[in-house]
């Protein structure tokens, strides 16, 4: 199983924290409230374990809401923002400001969730691309609802594909919501990532 050293993990977490921090600032401008987002930890796990991690929070089928974007260029990855369905509803309600309780996300709310995914994923990947000084091209967001396995399969990954999981803490108006961003990466992309992190660290230590 692919893994990073403590220092490499530190660097990656810091990079993602900068990314979601900027996303939080964007979202804060939309709702005119303080929004806080942070990435407390990351892990590299295979797809089966990733699905289990998400399902553990919401065992009912069809209970995960995901927004995915595909990135190509210097490396290729599928990035997926995931929240348990009721939490997605909560986030959208908080962002949109509606307190009308509807059973399912309406089409307009799905679009709002897509935008939220678009903001967060672009911020994360954008920061990554900038710091690694790499050129990437992204796609527009796509909305998914289903079990975590279904959502991860939709990304075209195999059951033993490695997934870089970011744990995300989202805080708005005293509501604290925990979600995930999954990056589906193939072996070459993973090694590329490790190499880039080390270059970044070397620059930080004044050795590059």
């Amino acid at each position: 199983m692919f893994s990073l050293s403590e220092l490499e993990t530190d660097a990656l977490i810091e990079i993602f924290n900068i990314g979601v921090g900027q996303a939080a600032a964007s979202m804060s401008a939309i709702v005119n409230e303080t929004v806080r987002m942070s990435v407390p930890s990351v892990s590299f796990i295979n797809r089966t374990d990733a699905a289990r991690l998400l399902d553990g929070k919401a065992p009912e089928a069809g209970a995960i809401c995901g927004v995915s974007q595909h990135y190509e260029g210097a490396f290729s990855t599928e990035a997926i923002l995931m929240f348990p369905e009721d939490k997605s509803l909560e986030i959208v309600r908080l962002m949109v400001g509606e307190s009308v309780p509807l059973k399912e996300l309406t089409e307009m709310e799905q679009e709002a969730m897509c935008e939220i995914g678009n903001i967060i994923l672009n911020s994360c990947v954008g920061t990554l691309a900038n710091i690694f000084q790499r050129e990437l091209h992204g796609s527009l967001p796509e909305y998914h609802i289903g079990t975590s396995d279904e959502i991860l399969i939709a990304s075209g990954s195999r059951h033993d594909t490695v997934v870089l999981m970011l744990h995300i803490d989202f805080v708005l108006e005293k509501h604290q919501i925990h979600g995930y961003v999954a990056f589906v990466l193939d072996i070459s992309a993973l090694h590329d990532l490790k190499e880039q992190i080390n270059l970044y660290i070397a620059r930080a230590m004044g050795q590059a």
Binding site: A11, I15, N17, G21, A25, A29, I201, A204, G206
Partner: protein, 123 residues
């Protein structure tokens, strides 16, 4: 040539602290850089070696950056403090203004550090 100063950099990310140390050393090789990984640790370090400048990450577990900055403001009123954050929002700006401290946007770059130091020198 400014006299050698002591800078306290507070951030839970080791890489972040390394980068800040690197950029400061690049501009002032003789300055001393102290590090702290948490708000609590920053109080201990500051009391042990009073700094001339404090860089404080906002997003830290435990006693957050803002709480630590408030405490340090009280104990070291003459020391300039700069909050480090990727998430510059109105609430952060207002709080910083209230405390009389500045903030710097993340990611920490050589240019931003240079800008901060130049601004302090001018003050």
């Amino acid at each position: 040539m400014t006299p050698a100063k002591t800078v306290l950099i507070v951030d839970d990310s080791r890489v972040s602290r390394m980068m800040a140390r690197q950029y400061i050393a690049g501009l002032h090789a003789d300055w001393i850089v102290e590090e702290a990984g948490t708000g609590e640790e920053s109080l201990v370090k500051a009391r042990a070696t009073p700094p001339d400048l404090i860089l404080m990450d906002v997003n830290m577990p435990g006693m957050g950056g803002i709480a630590a900055a408030e405490q340090l403001r009280q104990e070291f009123p003459a020391v300039p403090i700069s909050l480090l954050t990727a998430n510059v929002q109105t609430a952060t700006r207002e709080r910083a203004a209230q405390l009389g401290i500045g903030f710097m946007e993340k990611p920490i770059t050589e240019a931003r550090i240079a800008q901060l130091l130049a601004a302090l020198e001018a003050a």
